[in-house]
């Protein structure tokens, strides 16, 4: 029972922070879906099912945090490229500040207890 709850909590934390990881990946360059997903999946522990990124991308687009453009690809059909909007950049910057403080605060308690 406790184990199930903890699993669900971790899943929620991952889900809540995932969108900022996506925004961060887009902060320097625009990317297409497959490229984005591959980058996220390369880092262990971030994404369990790659397909779940796509509903998130759709939501971010609807919220105006990213925008998309179709571009021709040399190797196949056109790709939809995702790019940060001004609102997306503002959301990412705000999160960066909050996340730094939050991470430090949690580390402060968790690491002391463990030691």
């Amino acid at each position: 029972m406790v184990a199930v709850k903890q699993e669900a909590l971790l899943a929620q934390m991952r889900k809540g922070t995932l969108q900022y990881c996506v925004l961060a990946l887009l902060s320097d360059e625009e990317r297409y879906g497959f490229d984005l997903v591959r980058s996220l999946a390369e880092t262990d522990g971030m994404v369990t099912s790659e397909g779940t990124i796509y509903p998130l991308l759709s939501r971010l687009r609807r919220d105006g945090l990213v925008e998309t453009t179709w571009r021709e690809s040399t190797s196949g059909p056109p790709r939809r490229y995702y790019r940060l909007t001004a609102a997306g950049r503002a959301a990412l910057d705000a999160f960066r500040g909050e996340w730094g403080r939050f991470r430090d605060a949690v580390d402060h308690f968790v690491e002391r207890k463990a030691g």
Binding site: V37, S49, E50, G51, Y54, P55, L57, S58, G76, R79
Partner: protein
């Protein structure tokens, strides 16, 4: 080139589409298209594609049900698929009245059936259109037409071709003679079709009721 991987991909996308059934159409299209694109990109990157490779790509994407659950959460839709697929009095009423409502109270009985059909959440728009146009009035119309044509055929009549040079009627065919067999056969086929159509529609709508919960569990 083996077609087994294509079949796997096709089945996966179909499954995803069914799982996303309750997600608004434009978003469903967007997600399915993007995931189809993802699969195509991943497959294009393979040197020598094997069935195992394609299975790994699909496994990496995850269970369609999981992707659909994520979509519901991201779009703030009800967590599980809504329950309206369970047939209640509305669905039973719609099925019964569409079929024989026109026999109980001509026209109005059927109309109430149509209203119930469109109010119910158990069918999609395509099902509702099918239920409405095959056949307006249900068995009530079928029986009305049956009586109408039965009495009309007693009155007889004749079919003529007009000779353009003389303006005279030629090739007159009296409907009481055996040469009208073709028209009679057509008439009977049509009548049978009109009687069977509402029955088929009812069977179809009932089948669609049963199909949904099974799909939701898959």
């Amino acid at each position: 080139m083996s077609t087994a991987p294509d079949k796997l991909v096709e089945r996966y996308l179909k499954h995803l589409e069914v799982e996303l059934d309750d997600v608004p159409r434009d978003r469903r299209r967007e997600i399915v298209d993007e995931i189809a694109g993802h699969i195509a990109e991943a497959r294009a990157g393979l040197e020598h594609e094997t069935e195992a490779d394609v299975r790994n790509i699909l496994d990496g994407l995850g269970d369609p049900a999981e992707i659909a659950a994520e979509a519901r959460e991201r779009f703030e839709l009800p967590a599980s698929r809504p329950a309206p697929y369970k047939a209640g009095w509305m669905e039973v009423g719609a099925l019964v009245l569409l079929l024989i409502g026109g026999l109980i109270v001509p026209l109005f009985g059927w109309l109430i059936g149509v209203v119930l059909l469109w109010l119910s959440n158990a069918w999609n728009v395509r099902d509702k259109i099918i239920g409405t146009i095959f056949v307006p009035g249900g068995l009530g119309l079928s029986l009305f037409l049956l009586f109408f044509t039965a009495s009309a055929s007693f009155s007889g009549g004749s079919i003529c071709d007009v000779d353009p040079s003389t303006g005279q009627d030629v090739n007159c065919i009296d409907s009481s003679t055996s040469s009208t067999d073709f028209f009679d056969v057509m008439k009977i086929v049509l009548l049978v079709a009109i009687v069977i159509a509402p029955l088929v529609t009812t069977a179809y709508l009932t089948y669609r009721l049963r199909r949904r919960p099974a799909a939701a569990m898959a």
